[in-house]
């Protein structure tokens, strides 16, 4: 894991009447991610009644607040006051490592051929490269339980589809630029699909609902 210090100063800005965006960096980077993660878990542990929701992502944490209980100025100064404590490592829960069996290729891998053509690699190489890395969950969203995983090996980085598909199957494993992820639901999809998994990434009937949360690790296993 990268331990380099990131010179970026935490920046607070407003996002509409009831939103605060707390920015920790400008790039997809593990040290920025660690700050977001520490901040999110620390803030959440405070159980603030004035906060409705947190959306931590690659480089920021968006806070949705209740305007009847606080205001932008008050919540901002609370965040500034807590910055040092919030960013201190050690507040965060252990990350889990999930091994995800994937059927690469075949009829469900809608874009495998295209990815091979674009990268000049064989299907076997694409599979070997994709399943070689232990990925980090940078954020969960788009649809419930969808993990944005990074970072994809340069050799298999391809752009998103120009025209996203309106619906793909649940369990589809996709790649786009430096990211990879799994679609937990039949949903629209702009990433290129190279495989399929039967693992359930979201179960609305059972807490904690999502298989993964920010900071967890994923290793794909080719089956």
């Amino acid at each position: 894991m990268t331990t380099s210090t990131n010179p970026f100063k935490m920046t607070i800005s407003r996002f509409g009447e009831d939103g605060i965006r707390v920015l920790f960096g400008n790039d997809i980077d593990l040290s920025v991610h660690e700050k977001v993660r520490n901040f999110y878990f620390y803030m959440k542990s405070l159980d603030l009644p004035e906060v409705i929701d947190y959306t931590p992502s690659f480089r920021s944490c968006l806070i949705h607040f209740n305007t009847e209980r606080t205001n932008f100025a008050r919540l901002s100064s609370l965040i500034e006051e807590k910055e040092e404590e919030a960013l201190r490592p050690g507040n965060t829960p252990e990350s889990t490592l999930q091994e995800i069996p994937v059927h690469y290729g075949g009829p469900e891998a809608l874009d495998m051929k295209n990815v091979c053509e674009q990268t000049g690699l064989s299907e076997r190489d694409v599979i070997a490269i994709h399943s070689d890395i232990i990925y980090t969950v940078y954020t969960v969203g788009f649809t419930p339980g969808f993990p944005y995983l990074g970072t994809l090996d340069q050799r298999i980085q391809v752009p998103r589809l120009e025209t996203p598909r309106t619906k793909i199957a649940a369990g589809s494993v996709g790649i786009a630029q430096g990211q990879t992820g799994v679609y937990p639901f039949p949903s629209p999809a702009g990433w290129r699909i190279i495989g399929h998994t039967d693992v359930r990434f979201f179960n609305y009937e059972k807490e904690p609902y999502s298989l993964l949360r920010i900071g967890d690790k994923v290793k794909f296993i080719s089956i």
């Binding site: 920021s60 969203g141 788009f142 949903s187 949360r213």
Partner: protein, 311 residues
């Protein structure tokens, strides 16, 4: 029990929204016209999170198998209970065996129907709202169709009420939506920012047929990105009313079904105008107006005061 005879264009169970789980990507899936939904619950003396039906389109019809009191708010509709015609934004008594039919939607798009009783539906992740895309919540995770039946328990009575006509919000095109700047508003050329939402030079947008409960797509003047600006951003959190501009330069207004977006967030629709988004119909005209945060806050206080007058 109530029985759906005709679902209209689309009917689903909604409530005030599923909050607290954005970090695992769970969106609110809330009632889109929160004001109409809140007034509905006031008319029925219901909990502020009670499940209600959100309906689009004429033809909707249900049969009551028990006596209860109901109310309709939201889009103005021409409706009848058996032979008796009903007033918009009012409660009415329905007897067992009677049939409610909506003949026409005369202004607005989505209307809300609620009941004085407890709908026998499970809470999923703490809520009754339907997540249609992921098939959970509401009624078996799906929109309602003819033949569906919902048990209603603990039926109570309330005095009938009606919202004075002048208190019913305007819902017809053109829709004037006020906005505040989003994190990426400076990604767009000054000229584009002006034609987007400046009083002097703004243009009208048209609601696209490709709109749905996730987002409202608009057609019209394409916004231009400044030179050297990346068209897609590193995916980040969004809130209801966020206006995203994808590479084609045409705005998408996000509703209550996404927690994260990957396109430049030029603006957010002010909270006081979010209810109006429920009533944007394909082909309607939309005009944006950029305002300052303090004015947006004042407008929200006004809306709160209006709602309080019903309590």
């Amino acid at each position: 029990m109530i029985e759906i005879l005709n679902k209209g264009m689309m009917t689903c169970v909604v409530d005030s929204g599923r909050y607290g789980y954005a970090a695992i990507g769970v969106p609110p899936s809330a009632a889109l016209d929160k004001f109409a939904y809140n007034v509905l619950n006031c008319l029925l003396n219901q909990d502020e999170n009670a499940p209600a039906l959100e309906i689009i389109g004429a033809g909707f019809s249900i049969k009551f198998h028990q006596d209860m009191i109901c109310a309709i708010t939201g889009a103005r509709v021409r409706a009848s209970l058996d032979e008796r015609s009903l007033s918009p934004w009012a409660s009415f008594a329905a007897e067992a065996g009677s049939i409610l039919t909506v003949h026409e939607v005369t202004e607005g798009f989505r209307y809300y129907l609620g009941f004085t009783g407890k709908l026998s539906l499970p809470r999923v992740i703490g809520c009754y709202a339907t997540n249609l895309e992921c098939s959970f919540g509401g009624y078996q995770g799906r929109s309602l169709k003819g033949g569906d039946q919902i048990e209603i328990n603990d039926i109570y009575s309330v005095p009938l009420g009606i919202v004075p006509d002048k208190e019913i919000p305007e819902m017809k095109s053109p829709h004037f939506l006020r906005i505040t700047d989003g994190p990426e508003h400076s990604f767009f050329t000054e000229k584009s920012q002006k034609t987007f939402a400046d009083r002097e030079s703004r243009t009208e947008y048209t609601v696209s047929v490709n709109s749905n409960r996730t987002g409202i797509r608009l057609t019209g003047d394409q916004l231009s990105f400044c030179d050297g600006v990346k068209e897609s951003i590193i995916s980040e959190g969004i809130l209801p009313g966020t206006i995203q501009i994808p590479g084609d330069g045409l705005p998408i207004i996000m509703l209550y079904e996404r927690t994260i977006g990957g396109y430049a967030r030029i603006a957010r629709v002010v909270r006081a105008d979010l209810d109006r988004l429920a009533h944007l119909i394909p082909e309607d005209q939309v005009i944006f107006g950029r305002i300052e945060m303090d004015e947006a806050e004042r407008l929200w206080e006004e809306r709160r005061a209006r709602l309080k007058s019903f309590l």
